[in-house]
Symmetry: C2
Subunit: 255 residues, 2 copies
DNA sequence: CGGCGCATGTGGTCGGACCACAGAACCGGC
DNA sequence: GCCGGTTCTGTGGTCCGACCACATGCGCCG
């Protein structure tokens, strides 16, 4: 049994186009900032219809590798860009909603990633980022803050720390994972018995976290953020992210 | 400065369609295994052309939440599925090739994720997975194994451990991150001065790792895999371009 | 010389047509 | 009555041609 069987190469046209463009990217011939030829030119060059080409471009667009602008001028047309965050966020959100990942899995991933984020931030977070984080924490400490606004600021706080850790990849992953459970956290906060007390408790943790990061206590910050996340997730319940509908994402799963 | 400005909501038709379908997923109305109406029916219902609908479906397909099959019968049509791995892999590969992430970032992410994988595997990896891992390690120990085959087996080994750790999300992330640097590792192995010795050294680590996992020594396995990964990445060089050679799909079986 | 409008080029959308494929239904022979 | 092959039907996949919206840039006209 040397090598497992591979699914035969599907040859849908737009996939071939996609592969062709991908190869140019891998080969370094297409780099961020470069512009693709106009669709009406590129399609016949590749030997496909404009529709097929457009579907391939759409794929690249959703991956965050391409943006397209109509009009005329230096900014018009299809340009190669680097914007993975939106794509990754949408991917994880959808799959979490579909039940590809259990809440427990997401919790563990968050713990692992954010521990790394805070350790990294304690080492080399620029002061201006920490100042901005301070503002976010202050915003969350506003008395009478709404659950939704708190959730927004909390998300931005964690994402900001991740970004300031100096690692773009873990930052993106952290952000996407945090976003994917955002609706659940929102529901949990809304269901909190004593919301002001909950907010105060979370804020105390945020302040301590920030202090630890400022003084460079990476391991301590990592431990605290793990406790912070586990505590919050303990109040979450697994369920459809939407407002209605019974549970039971126990459908048959993909291999 | 209450809230930052947000880019105005683009209203490209296919994005609206996408949003509409996404909402159904978030609301739990569309679940894995469900089938969408045929394109020719759905398009007029949504009030868009078939092309616009198809572009939205293509997006969902690249995200890994949809598959489409022509023909007739229970398996035909567009079905909701859960297959995030391919999508995530393609996303990270492209962005790594574009330089969205530095090699150092990927290294750190690998360390963080795989530490978690091995710790999880030490706790609850099923024996059959470990047996399969044993086979992979044995395959890598074959004398005279080629660099490419070794790289294949090595990838499968790390991905298998990740999967057996019981966390689908970190498993997917681990796999995608490992895949994204696969071409670089391949080049590094090819450039190794004494390849057989290198292979022997890596294999010794693999065997020790597997032993540690079997006996449930999670932290020790985590430390060792960190050392294992850092050692290998230390030999990598940040290649401006990527994976495959100048042209061609360079079949993975090239001797 | 300056302002205004049209020509141009871009992506975005649409409708229709045809193709390939695979199950389903049908019909014939046995 | 059963089995076989043939035809029908419905699905996604592709292609074509046309038009739309928009932003730029040029040229015309005042």
């Amino acid at each position: 049994m040397p090598v497992e069987w591979q699914p035969v190469q599907q040859s849908r046209t737009h996939e071939l186009v996609l592969r062709s463009i991908e190869e140019r990217v891998f080969a370094g011939e297409l780099r961020a900032g470069d512009r693709l030829p106009p669709e009406r030119e590129l399609a016949p060059v590749l030997g496909v219809s404009r529709s097929a080409l457009r579907e391939a471009l759409r794929v690249l667009e959703t991956i965050g590798v391409l943006v397209a602008q109509p009009g005329r001028g230096p900014d018009a047309g299809a340009r190669i860009v680097r914007n993975p965050d939106d794509a990754l966020g949408r991917l994880l959100r959808l799959h979490f909603a579909l039940g590809s990942y259990s809440l427990h899995d997401v919790l563990e991933a968050r713990v692992v990633l954010e521990r790394s984020s805070f350790e990294g931030a304690a080492c080399h977070a620029p002061d201006e980022d920490l100042d901005e984080a301070e503002e976010l924490v202050a915003g969350m400490a506003e008395p009478g803050i709404g659950v939704s606004a708190f959730n927004d600021l909390d998300t931005r706080f964690h994402v900001l720390i991740a970004r300031s850790s100096g690692n773009a990849l873990t930052s993106t992953l952290t952000s996407a994972v945090r976003e994917s459970v955002r609706p659940l956290i929102l529901r949990a906060l809304e269901a909190a018995e004593d919301w002001p007390a909950t907010a105060r408790a979370l804020n105390a943790e945020h302040r301590t976290l920030l202090t630890l990061v400022r003084e460079g206590s990476g391991p301590e910050a990592a431990d605290l953020v793990e406790w912070h996340i586990r505590g919050l997730h303990g109040t979450l319940v697994e369920g459809p992210t939407g407002p209605t509908g019974p549970t039971g994402p126990t459908g048959p799963t993909a291999p």
